[in-house]
Symmetry: C2
Subunit: 507 residues, 2 copies
C-alpha cells in the first residue's frame, strides 16, 4: 500500500493511501467526506439549539491537555482524523448560536455555508480569468451591483474583495496617497511632503495601523472629536485641516466611519463630503460595519452622502452574515487601483493571452494570490434577493431597538449614551445591587469597572451567552451589545438581560 | 411563510424560509446541504478522472451569456441555487486534475478539503482565544513545529498565517524596518534615512509591491544579478550594499528567494547570511514556493542557511498542496511582531480577561479579523505525518526530473537553463518543425515567441491540460512546467509532451 501510495497518490500516508487520488479511491473518499459532513450537520443543528451551550470553555493550558493536538512524523488513521474533527468542533465557539453576540460577525447562513464549501472544492485563486473564470465574473457583477447601491452613476468605478476591513481601509489610504503623489510608488515617502490623515476618535484602529504600515506614521493620523453619540464633529474636522495646512502639512485622506465599532455611530457624511470637496481631500467611508444598511430602504438614510465618497469599505461578513471572510473595497475612480498597485509580472499577467485581459484583476491587488471570497456573497444574494438581506438587517435593528427600550428605564441599567441607537450597538452599564447605591463616586466607578469582566467570565464558564465589553475614553467598562445574527429573537434579548442579572446580582 | 421568515429567520427570502435557523428547518437544511455535497462529490471524482477536461473554456462575454449570473431584488428558489452551484463548477477550472500544471498551487487533498469545510462551518475569526480557542492553539502548535523544522532553537520565535505570500513578504519588510527604525511607526518614513532593500532580479514582484505600499518606493529595491540558473550572486549583493552605503543609504532588508517563481532557483542562503551578518541587515527568505522542501530529508539541503534568517515566508498551499489560502510568516525574534503592529484596541483586546492574554494574537497582525487558515494544514499534517508530506514532495521532484531527462535531448526542445532543476520548475522551449530549422535568428526568435501562447490557447480550447509560459529578460516566451499535485504521474508528463507536440506541429 505504501508503495502504491507513493506511486499513485504521492504517499499520502500509509493509513490514508486509499483516498483519492488513489486508484479506486472513490468509495473510500465518499465515505470519509460523508462522515465529516455528518459531523458538521450535527454541529449545525446543535448550534441553533438554544438548549446547547454557546461555548464549552477551558483555559488554554487545560484545552491543550484535553486532546492530543501535537504534530508528528507518522500519519494518523482516518478514525483519528474524525476524532480530531469532533474535538475541534466540541471546543469551538458556536458562532451561529442565537445567543452569541460577542462580535460584529455572527450567525451562519446555510446558503453561504454551502457556497463556502463549494469554494473550497473549486480551490482556485482570483488572480486571473484563466484560473477563476466564473469567480472573476461574479466579482465583477457583484462589485458593480454594490456600487449601484452606493449611488455611483451606472455602478461605475472599481473595487476588490480583500482579506478584511483593515486591509480594505489600508487600500483606500494607499490609493488616496497615490492619487495625490503618484511618485511615492517609485520614490517612497521622501518624495512627498508630510501627509496627514483625519478620522474620528471613535474610528477603527486599522486607520492608524494602515498609516504605520504605509510609512505615514500614526502621529500623522489626526483624531477628530466625536460628539456624545460618537459621531465625528465636522467643524472640528475643518478646524484641524486648516491647522494642518498652516503647519505646512498636506491633508490627503479623511476616513469617515459609517457604523463605529463600539457605539455604532454614523459620521455625518454629507457635511464631511462638503469639507473634503472644499479642501480637495480624498474621502473614504469605513462602512465595514454599517455599510450594509445601504441594503435597507428604512435605514440607508444614515449613510446619506456616501455617494460623494472616493472609496468605501463594506464588509458583507458582518451585518449581512456572509461567512468569514468577505470584505469589499469600492473605489469611485476607474483605473486607479491598477496603476497604483501593478507591477506587471510577466509570468502571471501575460499580455499575449487569447482573451480580454481586463478580466485579469490580479495586478490591481496588493496580494498576489487572493482567496475566493465572492461566491458565498453572490450565492446568498441570489437566494435572498436584495429584499432578503433588507429583511434580515431590518430585523436585527428592530431587536436592538427592543433591547434599548427594555433597559433604558430599567432599574440597575444606565445607557452609555442617550437616545435610540443608530445601528444594532446598544452600550450600557449594568449596576449590580452592591454597586448601584454606592455614594462614593470614585469607589463606585472602580467597582463598576470590574462588573462587566466578571459577568463576561461567568457567561463563558456557564457557556450560556457571550457579549462584548470595553472601556471607552474616561468611561469604565460597559457592555456593547450587537446583533448581526438573523437567528436571534426577542426572547434571546430577554434571556441576555436575565442572564446578566443572574450572573451579576452578587457583585 | 414570509411572516414566519421575518419573525424566526430574519426574512431569509420567502422561498428559502424553511432552512435553518427556521423552526423545524433541520430536515430541509440537511436535504439542501446534502444535495450540494453530492454535487461536490461528483465534481471531485470527475476532477481526478483523466478522461474529463481540465477546463471547459469560454471567452468572458460568452460565459456571461451562458448562465444568468445577475443579482436581483427577489429571491431565487432552492432549485435555482442548486443550478447555480452546478453551473459554477461546470465552468470552473479543475485545479485538482492531474494534468493541470498552470500554477504553483494545484491538487486537492481530501483531508485538507474536509478541514476547510469544517473551518467554514465553525465560521470564526483568529483575533482572540475567546472566539477561536482551538484554532489559536493549533496555530501555536503548528508555527512552533515549522520553526523547529527551520532549525530555530527549540522552535522559538514568532509567526502568523497571513493571506498569501505577498502579504507575508510585506510583513517581513515591515518588521525589518521597525527593528532598525522603530520610530517610523509613529513618525513615518520622514524620521528615517533613505532605506534600501535588496533582492535578486528573479525574485517575486511582491517585494517591490511591498516597498511601494510601505512608502519605501520601488526604486529603493535594488535588484541583484542572478546567475544563469537564476540564483542571486552573493558578490553582486555585497558590492551593491557597499555602493548603497557609500551613497548614504541605509541597507535594511535582504530578501533571498528559496524557489524562484519561474526557474525554481534557490539563492545561496549561507553566503547571503554571511553578508547580512557582516553588514547587520535583516535577512528574509522568501520560501513561498521552495520552503516546503524543508520537509524532505533528500532536498532540504537546498535551503541550508535558512536557520540564520530573521524571517521566512513559507506557503503550505503551494508545494504541500494545502487548500488555498495557507501562507505562514515565521519570525526568529519573539515579541517584535506585537510591538511593531499593536494598536491595543480596548474593545477587542481587553486586558482584564480571565485567561492568559498571550493567546490573543490578533494585535500582532496587520489585519483585524483574520481568516482561519490553520486547520486544513494541521489536519493534513496529522493525516500524513511529516513523512507523508515528504513523500509527496519527493515524488513531485522525481516527476520533474523525469520530465527534464525526457526532453533535454529530445528533438525540437531546448532548455532555458542547463542542468537538473532544483525545484519542480522545468523551463523549456518547444520549437515546432516550422521554426526549428529557420536560419534567420531574429525571425526565429520572433516566431518562437508566439509559439507558447498559441499552444497554450489551444490547450485551453481543447481543455486537455494547462501549463504556464512567459518571457524572462531577453528570453522569448517559454513554457514553465511546475508540479505540485501529488495526483500527477509519469504518464501525465508523457501526455503533456505529446500534447505540446500535437498542438504545435503546424506552427
Amino acid at each position: 500500500c505504501q508503495a502504491a501510495a507513493q506511486k499513485f497518490s504521492g504517499g499520502i500516508g500509509s493509513k490514508l493511501c486509499d483516498l483519492l487520488p488513489a486508484l479506486d479511491g472513490d468509495a473510500k473518499t465518499m465515505n470519509f467526506l460523508q462522515e465529516v459532513v455528518d459531523i458538521m450537520l450535527a454541529y449545525i443543528v446543535e448550534s441553533f439549539d438554544r438548549s446547547t451551550k454557546v461555548i464549552d470553555f477551558h483555559y488554554p493550558n487545560e484545552l491543550l491537555q484535553r486532546n492530543n493536538w501535537e504534530l508528528s512524523d507518522e500519519p494518523e488513521t482516518l478514525d483519528d482524523i474524525l476524532i480530531s474533527c469532533r474535538a475541534t468542533l466540541k471546543y469551538a465557539i458556536k458562532t451561529a448560536h442565537p445567543r452569541y453576540f460577542n462580535q460584529l460577525s455572527t450567525g451562519l447562513d446555510m446558503v453561504g455555508l454551502a457556497a463556502d464549501w463549494l469554494t473550497s472544492t473549486a480551490n482556485t485563486n482570483m488572480f486571473t480569468y484563466e484560473v477563476a473564470p466564473v469567480f472573476v465574473l461574479l466579482e465583477y457583477v457583484t462589485l458593480k451591483k454594490m456600487r449601484e447601491i452606493i449611488g455611483w452613476q451606472e455602478g461605475r468605478g472599481d473595487g476588490i474583495f480583500s482579506p478584511g476591513g483593515a486591509i480594505s481601509n489600508m487600500y483606500a489610504m494607499l490609493l488616496a496617497r497615490y492619487k495625490m503623489f503618484p511618485e511615492v510608488k517609485e520614490k517612497g515617502m521622501s518624495s512627498a511632503p508630510r501627509l496627514v490623515a483625519f478620522t474620528s476618535e471613535h474610528s477603527h484602529f486599522s486607520i492608524k495601523k494602515g498609516a504605520a504600515a504605509l510609512g505615514i506614521g500614526t502621529e500623522s493620523v489626526i483624531c477628530i472629536k466625536a460628539d456624545e453619540r460618537g459621531k465625528m464633529i465636522p467643524s472640528d474636522l475643518e478646524r484641524r485641516i486648516i491647522e494642518a495646512k498652516q503647519k505646512g502639512y498636506v491633508p490627503f485622506f479623511v476616513s469617515a466611519t459609517a457604523g463605529t465599532t463600539v457605539y455604532g455611530a454614523f459620521d455625518p457624511l454629507m457635511a464631511i463630503a462638503d469639507i473634503c470637496k472644499k479642501h480637495d481631500i480624498w474621502m473614504h467611508v469605513d462602512g465595514a460595519w454599517g455599510g450594509s444598511l445601504l441594503m435597507s430602504r428604512k435605514h440607508r438614510w444614515k449613510l446619506n452622502g456616501v455617494e460623494r465618497a472616493n472609496s468605501m469599505t463594506w464588509n458583507p461578513h458582518k451585518m449581512m452574515a456572509v461567512p468569514l471572510q468577505c470584505s469589499a473595497l469600492l473605489v469611485r475612480e476607474e483605473g486607479l487601483m491598477q496603476s497604483c498597485n501593478q507591477m506587471q509580472a510577466c509570468y502571471l499577467f501575460q499580455q499575449d493571452k487569447q482573451y480580454d485581459l481586463s478580466y485579469d484583476t490580479g495586478d490591481k491587488a496588493l496580494q498576489c494570490g487572493r482567496h475566493v471570497d465572492i461566491f458565498k456573497l453572490w450565492l446568498m444574494w441570489r437566494a435572498k434577493g436584495t429584499i432578503g438581506f433588507e429583511a434580515q438587517i431590518d430585523k436585527c435593528l428592530e431587536l436592538s431597538e427592543y433591547l434599548y427600550n427594555k433597559i433604558k428605564d430599567r432599574e440597575g441599567y444606565e445607557m452609555v449614551f442617550d437616545g435610540k441607537p443608530q445601528h444594532t450597538n446598544v452600550c450600557f452599564w449594568y449596576l449590580p445591587p452592591g454597586v448601584r447605591y454606592l455614594e462614593d463616586k470614585v469607589e463606585k466607578m472602580k467597582r463598576l469597572h470590574k462588573v462587566a469582566p466578571v459577568i463576561k467570565a461567568r457567561m463563558m464558564e456557564y457557556g450560556t451567552t457571550m457579549v462584548s465589553y470595553q472601556p471607552q475614553g474616561d468611561k469604565v467598562n460597559f457592555f456593547r451589545m450587537v446583533i448581526s445574527n438573523p437567528a436571534a429573537t426577542f426572547e434571546d434579548i430577554d434571556f441576555l438581560i436575565e442572564e446578566i442579572e443572574r450572573l451579576g446580582q452578587d457583585l
